[in-house]
Symmetry: C2
Subunit: 399 residues, 2 copies
């Protein structure tokens, strides 16, 4: 009777990654920070770009405090929303105007706004495994349910074969996270086009729109020149969701946005509801100073090389050690197939070597571990002997 | 089928104050900013204290970017939580430790965390009119329902006579907003002690705790030395909620906290659920830079004189003009009894004089208008002739 039923479920099942992160902090205290190899959290180690630091100073210097720290429209500062719209239009040939953009408390805030706006209790949200486990919490906040499409583990592309049978009259949204956390896969344009065709057919069948939530905080983290298709230019009923957490290394500041094209079905009703959701979920508005900062940083890119050299080093080393590794095309995560059927054994063996990796069970795709390589290159170098010992231990433990 | 049923209701009923605010911006464009007297929004005009501006600069200078802008525990930075706990202990003789404090996205974020943590669909939250209309949205986000106790308009104290009959087995929380928005009333210690007795009796009857949500963003805005009792020191099952929006003039930055004493029933379960709620509602954590800033500003006070002179000028002038005005003891709102039964007529008459006031219908207490006097003194002085004309018009329109 103290906490709600759905919260009992969340508390019991959630926070696995966060728990590991806190376990890592404890191990660091015990064994020394330099002897613990924490690959648990997507906390970007790439420095905040200088242009961002400069923008913070400039915004504070050039504007009155009452503007920088005061209330604005719930959807955000007009100047920021215009800068975002212009950037999306220039980058992807879209026709957004400022009123189509809502500044949000990160991508997680944006997803909650969407679910609050569209989900009735019992409504369904389709996700493709592997997927970020917190989607489950976001939907359950409003009585929604995730419908999980199993991973296509041969290539980790979207498992479109299974999509149509998983769309029901209760389906309101489909989440596509591109580049994908945790697989590092980038879904190509052809996949998105096929996705769009299947959805259109399903919408005709069920009689209402299905919104594709394009969760793209890793968009700029695409290696080897692989293109990340812009889904709203292919599927009209899309809600584009972006966060500056990863690319500008600002995860603590909680700044992101959602964009809804006027071509989306039900635009007027939906955009109004999204603004109300942004207010009434208690965000009220995205943090004001950082709205103004990112408004000036639309062209600031991520330091791709910072993560790419980590990716290469880990991929090569782990492959050499005999592990089966999914080579990431984007984001900053790497999947390693567990040598044991139960990957929690592999996670535990890792911990003995002070390597903290995350089981992919909460990602709806057991049998793997996720390594977040958004860390210092030096830590990866220091960790390599530990991985060698882990490989040896794994072989010895195998039946 | 585009948006959810409960969102349809919210969109239809909500945002009255925000609509007036945007109407005010439009009038300012038409008639000139200096000729519009916008008393709609609680957007504090008192300058951001110098100590805050200095703290922003210092935090940025003295810490690595990865610390200032990075992830921390979902409940917030340890150093900030400790500073808050120390401040509460020193101010109110409490025994909080850092782990009892959760940094939140303002007070609105904190209230959403509480409701997410404790409300099952159909559960009830008791509020005393007049009350901030957004409470209704916050509860409805999770299927909760407000139970409104009518205002005691003789003195605007809590209407305790009606409390017991409004507590059912579904009651999970009671909100007490002290000093009160919109009445400006400060509920005295004796009232809170009686409240505590009634709740204890009811808890025994219904068999589970009822948490008092102490919503206190206006705590420091208490005039003439009136004491604001610290409810958690009187009622153990209290959740204290605070925001820096009003007192440090930082409403856009979305920074506040909740505090739960270990003496509260179900502490362990509840504090864990509140941290999960803070993460899974998409806040993830309160904005990081401003956590560190307010950690250093615990002893920074509000410029009380800034608002007190507004309060005195308006109260005296409106009383002189023959209006019935509730003299505020705290916060920065002033209630004026509408000369007409339907106060929307009074609001419209005000608009003709470019005075923007808010009907108290959404506060559950029709028949009054709210004047937010958190504005520049000069604007109030300029508005006085308009109030004179409004008084004249009101007399002429009266039947």
């Amino acid at each position: 009777m103290i906490i709600s039923n759905s919260m009992e479920t969340l508390v019991a099942g959630s926070g696995v990654i966060r728990k590991l992160f806190e376990e890592g902090l404890q191990m660091a205290e015990e064994f020394g920070k330099e002897n613990v190899y924490d690959f648990s959290l997507g906390n970007p180690a790439s420095p905040v770009p200088e242009a961002v630091t400069k923008a913070i100073a400039d915004v504070l210097k050039e504007n009155p405090d009452s503007y920088v720290h005061g209330y604005m429209k719930n959807a955000g500062f007009d100047e920021t929303r215009k800068a975002v719209a212009d950037h999306l239009n220039k980058s992807f040939g879209m026709g957004y105007s400022a009123e189509d953009i809502i500044m949000t408390v990160g991508a997680a805030g944006a997803m909650n706004c969407v679910f609050r706006a569209v989900l009735n209790p019992g409504d369904e949200v389709v996700v493709f495994a592997p997927f970020f486990g917190e989607y489950n919490s976001y939907a359950s906040n409003y009585g929604g349910k995730l419908v999980v499409i199993p991973a296509k583990t041969d290539d980790f592309d979207l498992n479109l074969e299974k999509l149509e049978e998983n769309i029901s009259v209760n389906t309101k949204c489909i989440i596509v996270n591109n580049p994908n956390n945790p697989s590092g896969r980038i879904y190509p344009k052809e996949t998105i086009e096929r996705l769009g065709e299947i959805i259109k057919k399903a919408e005709n069948r069920i009689g209402h729109p299905i919104y594709v939530l394009c969760d793209e905080p890793y968009r700029e983290l695409a290696y080897d020149g692989v293109e990340v298709p812009y889904i709203p230019s292919i599927i009209e009923n899309s809600i584009y969701i972006y966060s500056y957490s990863k690319t500008l290394s600002l995860p603590g500041e909680r700044i992101g946005y959602l964009a809804l094209s006027k071509k989306a079905e039900g635009y007027d009703k939906l955009i109004g509801a999204l603004v109300v959701a942004n207010r009434c979920l208690g965000y009220v508005n995205a943090p004001s100073l950082f709205q103004l900062v990112i408004g000036r940083c639309q062209d600031v890119g991520v330091d791709l090389e910072f993560y790419d050299k980590n990716r290469k080093l880990l991929y090569e080393k782990l492959t050499d050690l005999g592990f089966e590794v999914i080579k990431p095309e984007g984001a900053f995560y790497l999947l390693v197939k567990s040598p044991f059927e139960d990957e929690s054994r592999f996670v535990e063996l890792g911990k003995k070597q002070h390597i903290i990796m995350v089981s992919t069970k909460t990602f709806g795709c057991p049998g793997y571990v996720r390594i977040a390589y958004c860390v210092d290159y030096d830590m990866i170098k220091r960790s390599l002997p530990a991985f060698e010992r882990l490989a040896k231990d794994s072989r010895e433990v195998l039946p």
